[in-house]
C-alpha cells in the first residue's frame, strides 16, 4: 500500500533521491533475532514504536522520523521527510545513479539460462477498496531454460498442437487474481490449469504460435476459503526455427474473483504476461 500510494509520487521520489541514501530491506531479514541486520537495526528501532514502513535515520543511527500508517499517506510522508531533513540540517544535492533492478524482467535470457516473464494484473481501485488493496500489481515468474521450452513447439509445422505441462502452467498462478503481497496466488493455490498451444503459421523460418487456456485458484486459510478466482488466457508467441529459440511470448488474461463471504462482490480483472528476447532494458522496466 505504501509503495503504491507514496513511492509513485514524483515529488517524493525526487526529494528522497536528492537528499538521502535509500535503503530497501525485506522485513523478514530482521525477524530472525540472530541475523546481522537484526542485531544492528533492532536496538535503533527501539527509539520509535514502529516495525515495517519508512524510517529516516542519521548515519549514526538516530531516528529522525518514520511512517507506517494509513489515511493521507502522501501528505504524512512528505511531512515526515521534511521534518527529518530540517532536523538533520543543510545537505548538498545527491546525484547517485540508480542501478537496474530485475534487469531480465520481461526481456532477454539471464546468464543461467532462465527467463523472467513480466506479469501485471489490474482491476479498478474501487473493486478492491473494501479489502484495502490497490491495483495494478506487478509480478514476475522466473522459468528455468527447461521449463520455458514448454512454450516452444516440438514440431514447428502448421497445426502442431501441444499442452504446457501442469507444473509450468501453474507458475502463472499470479494471473489468476488481482490481489497482492500475502494475498497473491501461489502455484500451490492452483485448482485447475490448462494452457494449450498451436503453431498457427510458419513464415521464413519463423513460427507464429497461439496459446489458449484457463487457470483457476483458491485462497484458503485453514478450512476457510477466502477467495476463488479464475482467468481465461489467450496469447501468442514467436519461435525462431533457425536458432530453435523463442523470440517472444504474450498472454492476456480476463479474470473474475469471488469472495464466498461476500458473493455479491465479483471483481473482474485483466492480466498480462510478456517476455521478449530483444526488448530493451528501458522497455522492460518503466514501460514494460
Amino acid at each position: 500500500m505504501f509503495r503504491e500510494n507514496v513511492l509513485t509520487q514524483d515529488e517524493i521520489i525526487d526529494r528522497i533521491g536528492s537528499t538521502m541514501v535509500p535503503v530497501a530491506l525485506d522485513y523478514q531479514t530482521i525477524r530472525d533475532p540472530a541475523s546481522r541486520e537484526s542485531r544492528f537495526l533492532r536496538p535503533l528501532m527501539k527509539q520509535r514504536k514502529q516495525e515495517q514502513g519508512l524510517w529516516i535515520l542519521t548515519p549514526e543511527g538516530q531516528v529522525l522520523g518514520g511512517f507506517a500508517g494509513f489515511g493521507d499517506m502522501v501528505g504524512q510522508t512528505k511531512k515526515v521527510i521534511e521534518d527529518a531533513l530540517e532536523a538533520f540540517g543543510p545537505l548538498e544535492p545527491r546525484r547517485a545513479k540508480a542501478a537496474p533492478i530485475q534487469p531480465y524482467r520481461g526481456r532477454g535470457v539471464s546468464p543461467d539460462g532462465s527467463v523472467c516473464l513480466a506479469e501485471c494484473i489490474r482491476t479498478s481501485d474501487d473493486a478492491l477498496g473494501f479489502v484495502n488493496a490497490r491495483s495494478p500489481v506487478i509480478s514476475s515468474v522466473t522459468l528455468s531454460d527447461r521449463a520455458f521450452r514448454a512454450f516452444a513447439p516440438r514440431r514447428a509445422v502448421v497445426g502442431a498442437k501441444w499442452t504446457l505441462p501442469e507444473d509450468v502452467a501453474k507458475q502463472l498462478a499470479r494471473t489468476s487474481s488481482p490481489m497482492c503481497y500475502q494475498h497473491a496466488p501461489q502455484p500451490d493455490w492452483v485448482t485447475d490449469v490448462r494452457i494449450a498451444a498451436v503453431v498457427r503459421r510458419v513464415d521464413e523460418g519463423v513460427a507464429r504460435l497461439s496459446y489458449e487456456g484457463r487457470i483457476a485458484s483458491s485462497h484458503r486459510v485453514g478450512r476457510t476459503t477466502v477467495s476463488v478466482q479464475e482467468t481465461e488466457l489467450t496469447g501468442e508467441g514467436v519461435y525462431d526455427l533457425k536458432t530453435g529459440t523463442m523470440q517472444s511470448v504474450l498472454l492476456i488474461g480476463s479474470g473474475r474473483l469471488r469472495w464466498p463471504e461476500a458473493p455479491e462482490k465479483v471483481v473482474t480483472f485483466d492480466a498480462l504476461v510478456e517476455w521478449d528476447l530483444e526488448a530493451t532494458e528501458s522497455s522492460s522496466q518503466a514501460e514494460r
Binding site: F2, A24, Y27, Q28, T58, P59, C120, L272
Partner: protein
C-alpha cells in the same frame, strides 16, 4: 470480347462461372483467416499496451539509487554525511507486489 469467346466456345461462360464459384468458396476463408489472425494479434498487443501503461507508476521507485545491504547503506550515509531512508516491508521491497 467475352461475347465473341462465348459464341466460339459455348462452355466458356460455364467455365467462368465455375471458376468464380470456386474462388468465392475457397479463397476468402484463407484470406479471412490471415486477416483474423492479424486482427487478433493487434488486439492482444493493444490490450498489453493498455495494461502495461496502467502499471507504469509502480516502476517510479526504481529511479532511486537503492542500496539493498543495510550496512553498505549506513556506510554510504556516513561517507556522504546524509540521512538514511530505510524502506522495510515483508517481501522484496523493490520487486513484485
Amino acid at each position: 470480347m467475352k461475347r465473341i469467346r462465348a459464341e466460339r466456345d459455348p462452355h466458356a461462360i460455364l467455365r467462368w462461372c465455375v471458376l468464380l464459384l470456386l474462388s468465392a468458396v475457397f479463397v476468402p476463408p484463407a484470406l479471412r483467416s490471415q486477416d483474423t489472425a492479424g486482427e487478433e494479434s493487434s488486439r492482444l498487443r493493444q490490450k498489453a499496451d493498455d495494461i502495461r501503461a496502467s502499471a507504469e507508476k509502480l516502476f517510479k521507485l526504481r529511479k532511486l539509487p537503492w542500496v539493498t545491504d543495510v550496512f553498505e547503506g549506513f556506510e554510504l550515509a556516513r561517507q556522504e554525511n546524509r540521512p538514511v531512508l530505510l524502506y522495510m516491508i515483508t517481501g522484496d521491497p523493490l520487486g513484485d507486489c
